[in-house]
């Protein structure tokens, strides 16, 4: 087996680093199970309007808190709404929230971190003090306080969480950029007269991509947990929206009489987060620079 910097030949066949990493991922049973769960949940969420047996917000006050039946597989909640339908629709909110918040946080954080690390000097000092101040607050507490000020709603929670979460990426990427910008290929690009924007986006950020992908994957898992937690406290999704955390808080008073209402949404959150974490774990191995030395046969 022959190995160059980031190209690898196996059995005289050219394998790009991405193909190689995918090969490693495929070998990881946990990651594949995780991916299968995520794809399934994604399909169920997307298809919710067609497969959900009932309208998730339609109340039926004659049939409240019914145990599971052949008609209502997971029973009905305190307002007679079908729990299974709410669970399916809830997947849409939880998955979307996790991905959207993390996507915005990554974009903002990576840009600011890259600018800060690349230019250094005053810009760096100012941006990093801002990062210091935001990360000086315990995460959940500042989120709760900001929601208190803005008023509880799904959109406000999204704003608040992205407003706090980007700093993690900014700090991480800044550190990476500091090392990458002294590399010869960056110096070469500068010598060739590349503009700052070109150098940052073409040469520096691609170098951080592995770290970003891995961190963002774990980030999505964490954000889904946090967002559902805030909704559980009543600070995220508002009634009558079907959301897993909010469903749990509605079900808690009926824990003794109808535990299934509490068990189902929690299981949904847990399996989603677990699946993402399994994928993240495998991604970390696949993007580990030492891993390219491992023989692929």
């Amino acid at each position: 087996m022959e190995k160059t910097n980031d190209k690898l030949t196996v059995q005289n066949q050219f394998v790009s680093p991405w193909q190689y990493r995918w090969g490693l991922m495929r070998r990881n049973r946990g990651a594949m199970i995780g991916l299968a769960i995520l794809v399934t949940f994604g399909i169920l969420a997307a298809a919710a309007p067609w497969i959900a047996p009932f309208d998730p917000i339609k109340m039926d006050l004659l049939n409240t808190l019914k145990p599971p039946t052949s008609e209502h597989w997971l029973g009905t909640d305190e307002l007679g709404r079908d729990a299974l339908s709410r669970l399916l629709y809830g997947a849409r909110i939880s998955l979307t929230i996790g991905f959207v918040i993390e996507a915005i946080a990554v974009t903002v954080g990576v840009s600011i971190g890259a600018i800060s690390g690349y230019f250094g000097g005053k810009i760096d000092a100012i941006l990093m003090r801002l990062v210091d101040v935001i990360s000086a607050f315990p995460f959940l507490i500042i989120a709760i306080a900001a929601v208190a000020v803005l008023g509880p709603s799904l959109l406000n929670m999204l704003l608040v969480l992205t407003g706090v979460l980007w700093v993690r990426y900014a700090r991480l990427i800044r550190g990476l950029v500091l090392t990458i910008k002294t590399q010869e290929y960056v110096e070469a690009a500068q010598a060739l007269g590349g503009s700052h924007v070109q150098i940052i986006f073409r040469h520096i950020i691609p170098g951080c991509l592995g770290v970003i992908i891995v961190q963002a994957t774990f980030g999505i898992a964490g954000t889904i947990l946090t967002a559902s937690g805030l909704s559980f406290l009543g600070m995220g999704a508002q009634p009558p929206t079907a959301e897993w955390g909010a469903m749990l808080s509605g079900a808690k008073p009926h824990l003794r009489s109808l535990p299934v209402l509490s068990i189902a949404p929690g299981m949904a959150i847990m399996f989603t987060v677990l699946a993402i974490n399994f994928v993240g774990d495998a991604l970390r191995d696949a993007f580990d620079p030492h891993v390219l030395k491992v023989k692929l046969d």
Binding site: G30, R129, L130, D132, V133, I134, A136, F137, P138, F139, L140, I141, I142, I144, A145, A146, V147, A148, V149, G151, P152, A221, L225, S228, G229, F232, L233, G234, M235, G245, L248, K252, L255, R256, P259, S262, I263, P265, G266, I269, M270, V273, L274, N277, F278, D281
Partner: protein, 315 residues
């Protein structure tokens, strides 16, 4: 090293100004000022001239920077304002709730240390074996379970079904007589930490294992147990110590959900209760206090770290 510590300490004033300014502005951004919040729905019945007079008296008509300086002056004197709902000084409310949060956090920390160190060591030493896979799968589960759901499930099992443990409140009397109240919240809070820290401990062990001094220790014929206890453990623990410091501070604030579920009378629950009543002085008081603790802990952690690991001083 001293220049490192000095530099680290010098950031503190900048952070303090940033933190207080952020909290101050957040309160000012909030819809309604303390006066309108006082009257609530009865606002329309009150004479506008009277409201204006109260505003003037409270200094709410002064320019923002004057208000901010006054706010800082009050803070220095330990005055966090008066709660809108309970009419008590915020500092007293926080002081009366703090022991409960501290108790819960310390208990969860102890549990996490007690379990994650041995689990991490066992997994690390048996890398790739079924026991490693089992433990690491379990730890991934630990960090993936929503803590509030786990709390509810434990409540269902040990409280409602088996009836072994109380499910709400903190109990009365000295600590030893109400340990039963502490079990479920502390275990719930510790669960994710155990998952996270045992993974950390495992990777620290793996890191240390490949070091030359371990090879030397083995080469000179030391028994395996001694190599682990004398040479691996102290070095692997450095990583954990630094993380534990930050976790402690984070946990104080992160206990919010657990406190809410178990009706544990701590600060997090205080903040959540008051959010819906728009009791800004209390909310901001708790935020400020947590930020302060967070800042001090990270300073202490960095200083300890610079003693434990001399390499960092030259960074």
């Amino acid at each position: 090293m001293w220049t490192y510590i000095l530099r680290r300490v010098l950031i503190i004033p900048v952070l303090l100004i940033g933190i207080t300014l952020a909290v101050f502005l957040l309160v000012r951004l909030a819809p309604g000022d303390p006066v309108t919040a006082q009257y609530g729905l009865k606002l329309h019945e009150v004479d506008p001239a009277k409201i204006e007079a109260v505003r003037e008296k409270l200094g709410l008509n002064d320019p923002l920077h004057i208000q901010y300086i006054r706010y800082i002056e009050n803070l220095i004197h330990g005055d966090l304002g008066i709660s809108i709902t309970s009419k008590l000084p915020v500092i007293d409310e926080i002081r009366s709730r703090f022991p409960a949060t501290l108790e819960l956090t310390v208990a969860a920390m102890l549990l996490s240390i007690l379990f994650s160190i041995p689990l991490g060591i066992v997994a690390g030493l048996n890398r790739g074996s079924w026991i490693d896979n089992l433990l690491m799968g379990g730890s991934l589960l630990g960090v993936s379970v929503p803590s509030y759901w786990l709390g509810i499930m434990l409540m269902l099992l040990f409280g409602l079904t088996l009836d072994w443990l109380p499910v709400t409140g903190r109990g009365d009397g000295p600590l030893w007589s109400r340990l039963d109240h502490l079990v479920l919240p502390a275990v719930t809070l510790a669960f994710a930490l155990i998952g996270f820290n045992s993974r950390l401990m495992r990777s620290a062990i793996l890191d240390v294992m490949s070091k030359d001094y371990i090879r030397t220790a083995r080469g000179k014929g030391l028994v395996n147990k001694l190599v682990i206890v004398r040479h691996m453990l102290p070095n692997a623990l450095i990583v954990l110590v630094t993380v534990l410091g930050m976790q402690f501070a984070g946990l104080l604030g992160g206990a919010v959900l657990i406190e809410t579920i178990f009706a544990w009378p701590g600060i997090g629950r205080l903040a959540v209760e008051r959010v819906f009543r728009r009791d800004y002085p209390v909310i901001m008081g708790t935020v400020l206090m947590f930020a302060f603790i967070f800042m001090i802990s990270s300073l202490v952690v960095d200083i300890i770290y610079s003693f434990l690991d001399p390499r960092i001083r030259y960074d």
